[in-house]
Symmetry: C2
Subunit: 268 residues, 2 copies
Amino acid sequence: MPNESDMTMGAATAPEAARRIFRSGVVRPTCGVSRGYAQANMIMLPREYAYDFLLFAQRNPKPCPILEVLDEGSPFPSIARGCDIRTDIPLYRVWENGEAVDTVDDVTDLWSSHDDLVTFLIGCSFTFEFPLMDAGIPMRHIAAGRNVPMYDTSIPCVSAGRFSATMVVSMRGIQPDRVADAVRISGYYPRVHGTPVQIGHPESIGIADMEHPDYGDPPILERNDVPVFWACGVTPQAAVMSSKPAFAITHAPGHMLITDVPDSDYMV
Amino acid sequence: MPNESDMTMGAATAPEAARRIFRSGVVRPTCGVSRGYAQANMIMLPREYAYDFLLFAQRNPKPCPILEVLDEGSPFPSIARGCDIRTDIPLYRVWENGEAVDTVDDVTDLWSSHDDLVTFLIGCSFTFEFPLMDAGIPMRHIAAGRNVPMYDTSIPCVSAGRFSATMVVSMRGIQPDRVADAVRISGYYPRVHGTPVQIGHPESIGIADMEHPDYGDPPILERNDVPVFWACGVTPQAAVMSSKPAFAITHAPGHMLITDVPDSDYMV
């Protein structure tokens, strides 16, 4: 049940305030929150998996652009002042042997029993949604107060050690006369997925049923909207499912870390 | 002593031909060779150091932009067809406990006694020298047939596990009215060090004596030339010196891997 902090949270909420609200237990997707500040996907893995995962990210920069890797056992990111990564994401998923075994809003307890976790923060396409909106390209899921739809695809990632996956993508419906602008503007932000990976042909990347996304909320497509697909930072969760590390914690799709980094810092 | 292949080697030599010539034992810096193709710095480390080094590179993308990480024990890069990384670089340095103990033109034998080496290929500023020359900005070391001058600096890198270093830079003298163009053009190539880290004030980054570079050949500065400094892929060698891994192999400064990747692939 949303509380007052939740009701008033939105584009104008400062990143530190947003993190404090999520720390207090509020759960909601972060689309549309804290205009102008980059958001991040998150995965925590035991140290023994860290090299393979970092290499996986290096080999797949489109879905997994690394923003920061925390030192082993440290929960304090430098890209978010005063943040404790164990509490400040609205919702976490806990994984054992590739299965999602729990969904929680705080993972402090789990760090007591896993003292060698390495936390990876990965760019998120929510970062370029405000620049798209500023250019007059509506984000239909934000206008409707929904999470973005995300889909598993048939696009193979490059494997690294024990990690392999097919890419996860997010989808936004864009009017035909603005697709080129959406490509151009998102292309300025390669650290947060950059240009789309597919435009207009979901079936060509293995998406059979757009109405039923694998993560997030169902899509909103207005008349003539072209479905445009961007590489998505949920891809590490697909890698966890297919590669089955003994233990992992991720954010829940759409429930991101809000950082202190201005979007413009990730613009080229 | 240069042989015939060496004498005829230059901007027009295809990457595969250049690698074949270096494999045959020819030793020379690669500045000015194979116009239009990216060059790469190289470091090989035992598997136990691979995570710390990959993290060091991730945290220091300006001096250490990773182009490719080879699988453990594999000498075959995907960015250079038919290449064997143990033979196709003109000159290698061998390191033990942070000391350069040998300089050789082939490291195949060393791979027999070290079967878990991980090879990292890192972007090189030679890649943007042709675009600078195409824009009418002379590269004085290439015109003179010399290696570029490189310097240790006081600029700290971000540490990662066992690796720390201060940054190494390369220097090019640029006429005052072309400095902004050199910044703009190199800025299109973030994967090969991108924009300069310092312009015109060597003492501000701890370079006391420009005439005596720490690596490469002495500088050529013409009247009014502004010294412009770019982050350099020799920085991993500074990290080896300060962090003293038990074993490492690197390229010798200025003696790079010539890849099959067109410069334009690394342009944003």
